[in-house]
Symmetry: C2
Subunit: 224 residues, 2 copies
Amino acid sequence: MQSKHSFSEEQKAGVYRAIKQRRDIRAQFTDEPVPEKLLNKLLVAAHHAPSVGFMQPWNFLIIRDQETKNKVYEGFAKAHADSAEMFTRDKRETYRDFKLEGIRESPVNLLVTCDRKRTGPVVIGRTVQPEMDLFSTVCAVQNLWLAARAEGIGVGWVSIIYEQELRTLFSLPDSVAVIAYLCIGHVTNFPEMPELEKAGWLPRLPLEELIFYEKWGKTLHHKV
Amino acid sequence: MQSKHSFSEEQKAGVYRAIKQRRDIRAQFTDEPVPEKLLNKLLVAAHHAPSVGFMQPWNFLIIRDQETKNKVYEGFAKAHADSAEMFTRDKRETYRDFKLEGIRESPVNLLVTCDRKRTGPVVIGRTVQPEMDLFSTVCAVQNLWLAARAEGIGVGWVSIIYEQELRTLFSLPDSVAVIAYLCIGHVTNFPEMPELEKAGWLPRLPLEELIFYEKWGKTLHHKV
């Protein structure tokens, strides 16, 4: 039986479609500008994320300047070279072949941060789990990502860059943590599958093996 | 100009509505059961979250057993009592008056975890930002939360409980991190505003003060 608070079929379909068709975009950005008004809609979506103790700890730094993007790209390139060395020889070349960011090609870059001191030292819900404000900010990223998909806008999360690189480049205050560096823009297309899945790097896991019932490790068909 | 990849107006409205009408539910749960099939739809949504290196590091432990819920509630009560002492005297009573969880009243509890070793030690995109797998799992929580809102189902995130309490109670392996303990169920209503906003604990911040342009601290109307 359906809840009386549920959305219409078409609105529900929109939510599930955004969730399932969202992709991490790296290679598909076009140079079509992203209007300020549209970007603002995405930021409003981010701003409505759940936040521990209603702390709203996030900031959004919008970067359109190509010189700044180039500097961030240099930071990526350094971390990417370091990272390649961490893979075993048989995976290293495959790793190097992946396109893992669209920093310079995407019209908008967005640095999402978390101000850990925004509302003082004691925050409801963060008293015994101090990482909760970081998690709130991640929820803001995911809201933005889904709203972007609904608008037909691509987003890519660049995590191959040293936090210190971004801290220095943007002169971040000590109280602020880096959560995400995002590339945002129109796209030629949204790939049908995640790129690492398509490339055979890893398969999508069967969900039923990830769900446990009452006890750790107890799947539907497998008693502990 | 609208992207050719954008959703229909009604589907877009669904996405924005889920984002804006999502609430952290504590006091509004009813005892109407949540069908397995519906819960599974929410878990499919979670499973389609972005994950660093396509790691899909999450597990979902479904708890319907009242005795287990009672034990988790005891853990909450202990952390809640400790937390109250952290607030200044003038805020302590207000803090104690808030209802901050619906562990025993919600038909389904869900422990969401992150297996940090799921795909081995080297993960694409987690090489220099080791917390990325935790963030992926938070994205899974937010997907579930939004899908739940679209279905008219309430979700509350309980963060006032010591991680060690949950580790012990559910015998979690060392490689697994606790990300979220969620309460899930039908609701009498979705409050119009976040409860802490309504209670005047903190106001919603003006978004324009949180957006910077090109440089840290540079808002639209305020040069650094």
